[in-house]
Every structure is written in structure tokens, then in C-alpha cells.
């Protein structure tokens, strides 16, 4: 973690007025992209993320196909204009690592065995980055998977905890991320109370680590509600549409 200094907490509150265990405002829309089988758009703090799912579809190249299950492929990407210095279009080492652990974070909940020989392709792009992009992308991707009608045990939800000024807090923002002492992003399955992604940078005692992990799970549960709401909203629209169309039939 880095060196700039600036007072990050005042009277138990953070610079943006949040309490230590509060996440930044979050807004999710399911079904954002017409040309994808499933999609989501998410704004979380200053993050803006688009996620699309294509598939299950035939897996190429052929040697990656499994006769037992669908492959989950995941691409995380920073749009060139999402950060201060324009990013190079080719995926960075950071992009590749996040893509790998994010794919692994989702596989546990998807019934991949229903779709042998196929691939489920998940593409996420950070249009605007403001700390916590990997958990934002993963949370959006999970909604996109559900929007695509992929059968899943549960939604995967993701959030980070961290440490600033010696205190464990939830969901670091840009300044906190740059000046903080630790960052612990996780992905979580509420249904089974399991962790499917966990990375950590910084300096945490064993106790702080446990505290941060618990706090991150709390954050995940807050995100989970928004994910479910996004899917309900889309379903509601569909229902209304159906209601409108099917009035006559409904009377029967």
C-alpha cells in the first residue's frame, strides 16, 4: 500500500461521511445490453462497470472443450479512459490475474455440468475506475450470469474490506485505497457462507484479518441485496409487459 498522507477519518466517520461498516452507494441494472445473452451495468462509488455474458456456446479452441462441463471464461479490463494515465489496450499483468481469480470465483455456483462442450464467456469492462473495481466487476458479472438464465446455486457477491489509520473499514474509496494500510477483496456465496475469491495486500494482524474478513462478508450481503433488486426490477418490467399483453388471457 502507498505513501501519500491525508487525514482519512474524522470523529469516527470517513471523509465522504460513511461509517466504517458502510459501503459506497451502489446501483445495478440487469439486462443492459441487447446484443448479449445476459448483461448488467453497475455504478458503485465512482466505479462504472459493464458486464456481458455470451453463452453457453460452443467452446473454441476445440482443445479447451470439456466433455463434462462448460468452461467459464472471464475477462476483466480497464477501458483506456477509465484512469488518469491512458491504459495500453493489451491486457496488463494485473488484468490477467484478476481475470483468472474472478473466473475461479464464479465456477463454484454455476451448474457447469449441464452444458458440456460449451463455454460461458463473461466480459467485464471498467468504464470508470475508483477503487474496488475487481469486486464491482464480479458483482456485475454475477447479475449478468443470472440475467442470461444460467442456472446457479446462488449469486456470487463481492466486496472488499481494508485498513485505514489503523482501523478496519469496509469498501475503501480511491483516497483510502491509495493511502490505506491494507486491502482485502473477497467474493462470497451467501447461500453456503463460502469464500470463492480472496486476495490481500498490506499489513494485518491475525485478528485484524479475521475482523476484515467478517466485515467484507457484511459488505457482500449489502451488495447481494442490490443484486437481487436489480434482477427483481428486470423481472417486474417483464411481468408488467406480460400483464399488459396478456390481459385477455389472464381473465380466463
Amino acid at each position: 500500500m502507498a505513501k501519500k498522507t491525508k487525514k482519512l477519518m474524522k470523529k469516527g466517520k470517513r471523509l465522504d461521511g460513511r461509517k466504517p461498516d458502510e459501503i459506497r452507494p451502489i446501483k445495478i441494472k440487469a439486462g443492459y445490453t441487447k446484443r448479449a445473452d445476459g448483461s448488467a451495468y453497475l455504478e458503485w462509488g465512482g466505479n462504472k462497470v459493464a458486464a456481458s455474458v455470451h453463452g453457453p456456446r460452443t467452446c473454441y479452441p476445440q482443445h479447451e472443450r470439456s466433455p463434462y462441463k462448460a468452461r467459464i471464461k472471464y475477462k476483466y479490463k480497464l477501458a483506456p479512459f477509465s484512469v488518469d494515465e491512458r491504459t495500453h489496450p493489451a491486457p496488463s499483468r494485473r488484468d490477467k490475474e484478476i481475470s483468472k481469480v474472478s473466473a475461479e470465483a464464479l465456477e463454484e455456483v454455476v451448474f457447469t455440468q449441464y452444458f458440456p462442450e460449451t463455454t460461458i464467456d463473461i466480459y467485464t469492462t471498467i468504464l470508470q475506475a475508483a477503487a474496488g473495481t475487481r469486486v464491482a466487476a464480479l458483482s456485475a458479472a454475477s447479475v449478468a450470469l443470472a440475467d442470461a438464465g444460467i442456472p446457479m446455486k446462488d449469486l456470487v457477491t463481492a466486496c472488499a474490506a481494508g485498513k485505514i489509520e489503523g482501523k478496519v473499514v469496509l469498501d475503501l474509496d480511491q483516497d483510502e485505497d491509495q493511502m490505506g494500510q491494507a486491502d482485502l477483496p473477497i467474493a462470497y456465496i451467501p447461500h453456503s457462507d463460502e469464500i470463492t475469491l480472496m486476495q490481500m495486500d498490506g499489513d494485518l494482524t491475525t485478528e485484524e484479518y479475521k475482523e476484515a474478513l467478517d466485515l467484507a462478508v457484511d459488505g457482500c450481503m449489502q451488495v447481494y441485496e442490490e443484486q437481487k433488486n436489480a434482477l427483481k426490477d428486470k423481472y417486474k418490467h417483464l411481468e408488467e409487459d406480460n400483464t399488459g399483453k396478456n390481459t385477455e388471457e389472464d381473465k380466463k
Binding site: 445490453t33 441487447k34 455470451h54 479512459f81
Partner: protein, 266 residues
């Protein structure tokens, strides 16, 4: 394969309806879809826009950097336009290094901006021969429902028009993105109009089904003097000279309305 079959069926339908004088979405042949522009969509970019053209949705972001000028234009900044055809916007796109199709789109969009001399490149010189501003225009489609060129051109031009130049700190030898030296100096608002030819029919602003079914494509970029500043034919089909002449006139006729829309939203 299956995909190809579906497109063949769709193509037949598109053509059948066009022969009857109708487009699938009910538009007139030379009617464009509605344009929605959200300027300054990306706070962290120096300029940006989200554009909807019907269901086609595109984000353009402008980033400013600094570098040494090209040896043959030591007193001018540089400008580069790139589009990324990410699978986010269409199941048909692939990740990886840009292919011919992507490169063509980038260069067509770039060409109108460059040839209209929209950006005053000499104003982007910090120190002749040593240091100039680099303008990076990146276009990222979010939903590809046809006619990425026109939508991208609108987004790119609008983003340039709302771009703020960060101050170059000569002491620290780097950009100070907290302060700006004023807006990016622009002096035109070029507009692209793209036509699809299907059989003997030509439509303006093709929807994705029309685009997939097209034999050839023609893009005409019009500058504020109502002159053509760039054009590009694409696709394996051919155009008659009379067709081209007519489409140029139509592009020149349609451009001002779009230009007005871009300028109002800057």
C-alpha cells in the same frame, strides 16, 4: 454455422421487406434512429460522451498525455483514435490484437476528425520539437445494434468538444490533472453518415440486421462548410457512380441536424 444460417434467414427477410419499401423497424429508407448524447459521462477522462443511436450505445473517452512531437511536425500535437470491438457489445467480437475490421473502423472515424482539421494541432504544442500534448480518443461500444461508425463519430467529436486540457507543469515535467489550461481548441464538428446497400436498395443508418445483410457500405464525413472531408466504401459489393453522387448529396443534407445536436450537448 448455425449463426450463418440465422443471418441468411434474416437477410432474406430484410430484403423482402425493403422491396416492399419497408424497413424491419418501420423506418423510412433514409430515416435515422434517434440520437441521445450524454456529455462528460466519464469523470476521470479529460473529455467523454455516451451516445445512443437507437439501441446502439457507444462511450468515447479522451485522455491527454504528453510526448515528443513527430520529427516532420515539430510544432504540432498528436491525435490517435482507436475503437475496441469488445465482446461486451456483441457476441461476434473477439478479444485480442486489433484485426483489419477494427483497424478500418478506427481509421475511418479518425479520418473525419483529422481531415476536417477539427482539432487545432498547433495549439497543442508545449515546446517546439520537444514536448507536445497527445490526444487519445478511445471508443468503446457497449451495445452494437448497427452503424457503429456514425455513433462512434458522434461520441468522439462530442467528447473532443468537452475535453479540458490539463496544465503541463514544466517544473515537475508532468501533467497536473487537477487544473486545466482551458478547453481543447476545436474549430469544426465533422459528421459521418453511413449508408448500407442491399441488393438495389440503399438505407441510411443501418440497424444491425441490415448491416449484416448488406452488400456494401458507404460512409460520407461532412465538415461545417458542407464539404466532404472523408469517405470510405466498405464491403464486397459495388456502387454505381450515380448512387455515390446521390448519397453525397443526402449526407450533406442530413449532416447539419446532427452537428447541431452534437454542439448543443457539448
Amino acid at each position: 454455422m448455425t449463426d450463418d444460417l440465422i443471418w441468411d434467414v434474416k437477410k432474406d427477410r430484410v430484403l423482402r421487406e425493403l422491396k416492399k419499401g419497408k424497413r424491419l423497424d418501420g423506418r423510412e429508407k433514409k430515416e435515422e434512429r434517434e440520437i441521445e448524447i450524454t456529455p462528460n459521462y466519464i469523470d476521470r477522462a479529460e473529455g467523454s460522451a455516451m451516445v445512443k443511436l437507437g439501441d446502439t450505445r457507444v462511450v468515447a473517452g479522451v485522455k491527454i498525455g504528453t510526448g515528443t512531437p513527430y520529427p516532420d511536425s515539430p510544432e504540432e500535437g498528436t491525435l490517435m483514435t482507436s475503437i475496441e470491438l469488445s465482446p461486451v457489445s456483441s457476441p461476434g467480437f473477439e478479444t485480442g490484437p486489433p484485426r483489419e475490421k477494427t483497424v478500418e473502423l478506427s481509421r475511418v472515424i479518425d479520418r473525419g476528425i483529422r481531415e476536417s482539421e477539427m482539432v487545432d494541432m498547433e495549439e497543442l504544442c508545449i515546446e517546439p520539437g520537444e514536448k507536445v500534448y497527445n490526444v487519445f480518443i478511445d471508443i468503446f461500444p457497449l451495445d452494437h445494434d448497427g452503424n457503429l461508425i456514425d455513433a462512434s463519430a458522434i461520441a468522439a467529436v462530442n467528447a473532443l468538444k468537452n475535453t479540458k486540457l490539463p496544465v503541463y507543469d514544466k517544473e515537475e515535467e508532468k501533467l497536473n490533472r487537477e487544473e486545466h489550461a482551458g478547453p481543447l481548441p476545436t474549430q469544426d464538428t465533422p459528421v459521418a453518415k453511413t449508408f448500407s446497400k442491399l441488393g438495389d436498395e440503399v438505407v441510411l443508418d443501418p440497424q444491425i440486421d441490415e448491416e449484416k445483410a448488406q452488400d456494401a457500405r458507404l460512409t460520407i464525413y461532412v465538415n461545417k462548410k458542407d464539404n466532404v472531408c472523408a469517405s470510405q466504401k466498405g464491403g464486397t459489393g459495388a456502387f454505381k457512380r450515380e448512387e455515390i453522387n446521390k448519397l453525397i448529396e443526402e449526407a450533406v443534407e442530413k449532416a447539419p441536424e446532427t452537428r447541431k445536436k452534437i454542439e448543443e450537448n457539448s
